[in-house]
């Protein structure tokens, strides 16, 4: 999957939830959305981008949501 495209999509998701005044709720919203709608290989890829330090352009909200909710989001190993 195209990592840059996934980062862009995640940023758009974050832009919606970022309006939530409580940051923890916003991060939970982002993570919940990724868990509910992103197929595992998409989540796997965005973590690969994050872990490779290649998350240039990834919003702070997305980065924080991925880190805070990694256990929820990371798919089981194939």
């Amino acid at each position: 999957m195209d990592g840059a495209k996934l980062v862009r999509m995640a940023n758009q998701i974050a832009a919606f939830f970022a309006a939530e005044p409580d940051r923890a709720v916003a991060l939970q919203g982002i993570a919940g959305h990724l868990k509910k709608f992103w197929e595992p290989r998409m989540r796997r890829e965005i973590f690969a981008v994050l872990d490779a330090g290649a998350a240039k352009g990834m919003s702070e909200h997305v980065r924080e949501a991925l880190v805070a909710h990694r256990k929820l989001l990371e798919p089981a190993a194939k």
């Binding site: 758009q12 919606f16 309006a19 992103w38 197929e39």
Partner: protein, 950 residues
């Protein structure tokens, strides 16, 4: 003209609670107050002759054939215009009445061609019937006087003729055009003997007529007559079914001669359409037997190979072995399927079951991905159910209507007629659309406000409207506090009250003057019943889901949910978009919108299906494309969709399709996607199978088989065969058994059976123990999720920006005569009205670029370039251009981008930055398209298509 078999009560039914009892020829009959004597007589089983009266139109009282005698009154009143009064005693037959009626008929027939035996209406002509009923035996005036018998027939319309020599000027056609359709295209010109029906200065085709067929339906003679009947004669039997075009889901009677359709007539008892139709459903059904229909299954190894015609068994076997081979090589999740919103509920249910149970993953999606997926997300989040809240009849009770991002007169014409009738009665209208759509000003209808916003700013406009309502104290606080989550409301209220959401702060972004927003907000908030109708101009944006949420917020804020006349009403594009979503076509949801992550739901399905269900969401269509290009997705089964034409960023889509090792296309035509396929399974049209469709008002209606499947198998049978070949046998003898399984697994369908649909005519889900006959209005006592949830909707501008290089915004849409990718309508005479896609451009933008009307222009975006013919029109606002995607060679989606709704990946079709330049040659993409199309056609074996004479 209506069939003799259908009872015509003469005047419309009344619904008053007050009752009146009268005696008709001594028979007592009790009717609602306001009922005509003519209709009361019909209720009592007494037939009164009539010509100008019909129960779809208000009484007119011109023909004088329905005269009666009323005890205690002088004269002979027309029973159609005389209302019943308590104790009235009516006599319908007497010597005097007979003389009067015979005299009327004598006058009509003295100026009528006596060609009954060769007339196409023979056997179905009210004039002929009435001549018989009144006992006409002679015409004392002779036939040599002045007459109209030499007037030339108007055959300009592709579907019907207008033969003025047979016209009795009853004005039923004129009134149908006004009252039923609301177009006002017809008029009676002249007076007395000179009176004639006129459709404009020249002919029907050149007039304002929209070919809805209402006039033809209303005509009591063969003056207005379907050309199909002229050619084939009267039908020998009928089959009740449901239209396969838009989400209105009109009920139709297919009039048949053997296995051939000769006419489609809108069903008077249809609860979605009440006897009305549009040019597509009424006339554009010829595609079903078009010579381009695929006749035989075919397979090939590579897309450059010639197709090989094979048996169903071999094609299915090959498809199954390819799927298993690919899964063995690339993994279980390397394959998937796409269900069709043009197929039945039962068929979409089977395809998603095939993917989840036989493929063993959740990689199933549907074309709703590219249209109404944000509706599902937005309404589920706020109200708890992914569906519209009302029935269509609800609009009759609306006081103020917002139409946002929808063009009902083109895309949902039958409902639009209904809405226009309510608007003519005085309901207010607010149109929120970048274009000046017809509803903004149409005969006897004018919008109170047209908020001509910049494309991509729906959320800003809705926020501004809600801001005004909240800050000016116009919110229905009592309703909100009783029905909604109060904490969440308070949070939202604080957000929406921020100065940044005021109309003044947002007007630069939206392009809408603040005072207009304030006026519209006040009008909507203070209306008794406020209803919101929306379409793809809401959903197909980067903030599509946010806009749907904003609409739900506004409806809750103004107390406009849970009763007639109000509500949130998504106008669905294709006939079964609602149904395909209901049936679990989304990769994250099982039927009934239940997430695959819910173990109890998975257990339910696994128990009945006998296989485990995966607990992670599958790939959505755009994700499938990305995964195909990435190399992790290798096979796709597509039923009844043309993703190569309909999905955005065509080059990206085609690259994905070329990356697949096995593409199985199951369709009635060799569509654009089929050119990249390895297996072709011939599809069956809606006339060739049983099943159900669910329309935009959640109405489940029967589709009934009128003719055998042209290629031998209905789509559900082919899917079943594929499942069997994959080692997952399915056992259904009839689609009713599939529906029984759906009902067993889906709480909102629990009470649905074919027997009940047949008995009730149609059913709106939820249909279960709590609502055994269905649910016309949702959320009456409480929302499906319990308390309604206000959600913050911050306006985020799209990433697609105009620039010096791409200074205009392209927005795409649909027109009346064509449907979606045009696969059906392009293969009918509807192409008379729209032979090619065009680019609408404002005169200012055209002049700046030296573009003349009708000239071929280049449209270029960051993604690609195509050429279209320009139509210079003030419908557009400066800076915005518009086109449709009904013709594949137009390449509208070569230009659109892969930007999408943040929540659902629904493409942002409505906002693409482009440049338009004059004097273009056909683009390189179009030249490549022509060449590839020719190559693919040459790979088809002779005899592969239904009408193949090569």
């Amino acid at each position: 003209m209506d069939s003799n078999q259908v009872l015509d009560a003469g005047t419309p039914a009344r619904t008053s609670a007050a009752k009146v009892t009268v005696h008709i020829d001594g028979v007592p009959v009790t009717v609602p107050a306001g009922t005509s004597v003519l209709r009361a007589a019909s209720d009592a089983g007494v037939k009164i002759p009539k010509l100008c009266a019909t129960d779809s139109l208000e009484a007119f009282g011109s023909c004088r054939l329905c005269v009666v005698e009323v005890e205690g009154r002088k004269g002979f009143p027309a029973s159609c215009t005389t209302n019943c009064e308590p104790g009235m005693k009516v006599r319908t037959q007497s010597r005097k009445l007979a003389d009067l009626r015979r005299g009327v008929m004598e006058l009509y027939i003295s100026d009528h061609p006596l060609d009954c035996l060769t007339c196409p209406a023979n056997g179905n002509c009210e004039l002929q019937d009435m001549a018989g009923v009144v006992g006409l035996r002679e015409v004392r005036y002779g036939y040599d006087g002045d007459n109209h018998l030499s007037i030339a027939k108007d055959e300009s319309n592709p579907y019907f003729t207008f033969d003025a020599t047979k016209c009795i000027v009853c004005s039923r056609c004129v009134r149908a055009c006004e009252e039923v359709q609301g177009t006002f295209a017809l008029t009676v010109e002249g007076r007395g003997f000179e009176s004639k029906i006129a459709a404009g200065p020249t002919d029907f085709l050149d007039s304002e007529c929209v070919s809805c067929g209402a006039c033809v339906q209303a005509c009591p003679t063969s003056t207005l007559m379907e050309k199909s009947i002229v050619e084939a004669g009267q039908p020998d039997h009928t089959v009740d079914t449901t239209c396969a075009y838009c989400g209105v889901g009109c009920a139709f009677r297919a009039e048949m001669k053997g296995n051939e359709v000769v006419r489609m007539v809108p069903h008077k008892d249809g609860k979605a359409n009440h006897g009305h139709s549009c040019v597509k459903g009424r006339f554009a059904w010829g595609y079903a037997t078009h010579p381009d229909r695929v006749k035989k299954p075919m397979i090939r190894s590579k897309i450059t190979d010639p197709w090989r015609e094979v048996s169903w068994q071999e094609a299915i076997g090959h498809a199954a072995s390819e799927i298993r081979r690919i899964q063995a090589k690339y993994g279980r999740d390397s394959v998937g399927g796409i269900t069709s919103s043009r197929c039945t509920n039962e068929e979409t249910y089977l395809v998603q079951k095939l993917v989840r149970a036989a493929f063993g993953n959740n990689n199933v999606d549907t074309c709703a991905r590219v249209c109404h997926s944000p509706t599902g997300y937005g309404l589920k989040t706020t109200l708890g159910e992914s569906a519209g809240t009302q029935d269509f009849d609800s609009v009759d009770h609306s006081d103020c209507i917002i139409v946002i991002g929808a063009n009902p007169t083109d895309a949902h014409p039958v409902f639009a007629s209904r809405m226009k009738r309510r608007l003519r009665q005085g309901a207010h209208l607010i149109v929120i659309d970048p274009r000046r759509i017809d509803l903004v000003r149409t005969p006897h209808v004018a919008a109170d406000f047209h908020l001509a916003l910049q494309p991509g700013t729906n959320v800003a406009v809705l926020n501004a409207i809600s801001h005004v309502i909240v800050t000016e104290g116009l919110a229905k606080e009592d309703y909100v506090r009783a029905r909604c989550e109060v904490d969440q409301y308070e949070k939202w209220k604080a957000f929406i009250s921020l100065p940044k959401n005021s109309p003044e702060a947002l007007q630069q972004a939206t392009g809408v003057p603040a005072e207009q927003i304030r006026g519209a907000a006040r009008l909507f908030a203070n209306a008794g019943n406020g209803a919101i109708y929306y379409g793809l101009g809401v959903t197909e944006h980067s903030q599509g889901s946010t806009t749907v949420i904003g609409i739900a917020n506004l409806a809750m804020l103004t107390g406009n949910l849970g009763r007639k006349g109000v509500g949130v009403n998504p106008l669905r594009g294709q006939n079964n978009v609602q149904g395909s979503c209901d049936m679990g076509s989304f990769p994250h949801e099982l039927p009934g919108y239940r997430h695959v992550g819910d173990a109890s739901v998975r257990e339910l399905f696994a128990g009945l299906w006998g296989v485990p269900i995966q607990d992670e969401p599958g790939l959505r269509i755009p994700n499938m494309f990305d995964a195909a290009i990435d190399g992790s997705f290798k096979a796709l089964y597509v039923q009844g969709e043309d993703i190569a034409q309909s999905d955005p960023d065509t080059r990206h889509v085609l690259k994905a399709l070329e990356s697949l090792e096995c593409l199985i296309v199951h369709d009635i035509f060799m569509n654009e996607t089929a050119k990249y396929a390895h297996v072709i399974l011939p599809g069956a049209s809606f006339l060739e199978k049983d099943g159900t469709f669910t329309n935009a008002e959640r109405r489940i209606s029967r589709v009934r088989k009128a003719m055998p499947p042209l290629a031998g198998l209905a789509d559900w049978e082919a899917t079943m065969a594929l499942a069997q070949a994959l080692g997952y046998p399915m056992h259904y003898e009839h689609p009713s058994e599939i529906m029984a399984e759906i009902a067993a697994l889906t709480p909102t369908f629990q009470g649905v059976t074919y027997e009940k649909i047949d008995r009730l005519g149609s059913i709106q889900w939820p249909c279960n123990d709590a609502a055994p006959d269905g649910t016309p209005t949702m959320h009456e006592q409480e929302f499906v999720r319990g308390k309604g949830r206000f959600v913050i909707t911050d306006y985020v501008a799209t990433e697609e920006r105009t620039s010096r290089k791409f200074p205009l915004i392209l927005t795409t849409g649909r027109i009346l005569s064509q449907y979606n990718v045009g696969a059906q309508t392009r293969r009918t005479p509807n192409k008379t009205w729209h032979a090619e896609d065009v680019l609408e451009i404002h005169p200012h933008d055209a002049e700046q670029r030296g573009i003349a009307d009708g000239e071929l222009v280049s449209v270029e975006s960051r993604k690609g370039e195509t050429t279209l013919r320009a139509v210079v029109t003030e419908r557009m606002q400066p800076g915005v251009v518009y086109t449709t995607f009904h013709h594949p060679e137009s390449g509208a989606n070569v230009v659109t981008t892969d930007n999408s709704d943040w929540a659902t990946n629904c493409p942002e079709y409505k906002v693409t930055a482009v440049q338009v330049t004059a004097k273009a040659k056909r683009s390189s993409w179009q030249q490549g398209f022509d060449s590839f199309a020719g190559q693919q056609e040459s790979l088809l074996p002779k005899g592969a298509l239904f009408g193949d004479v090569r």
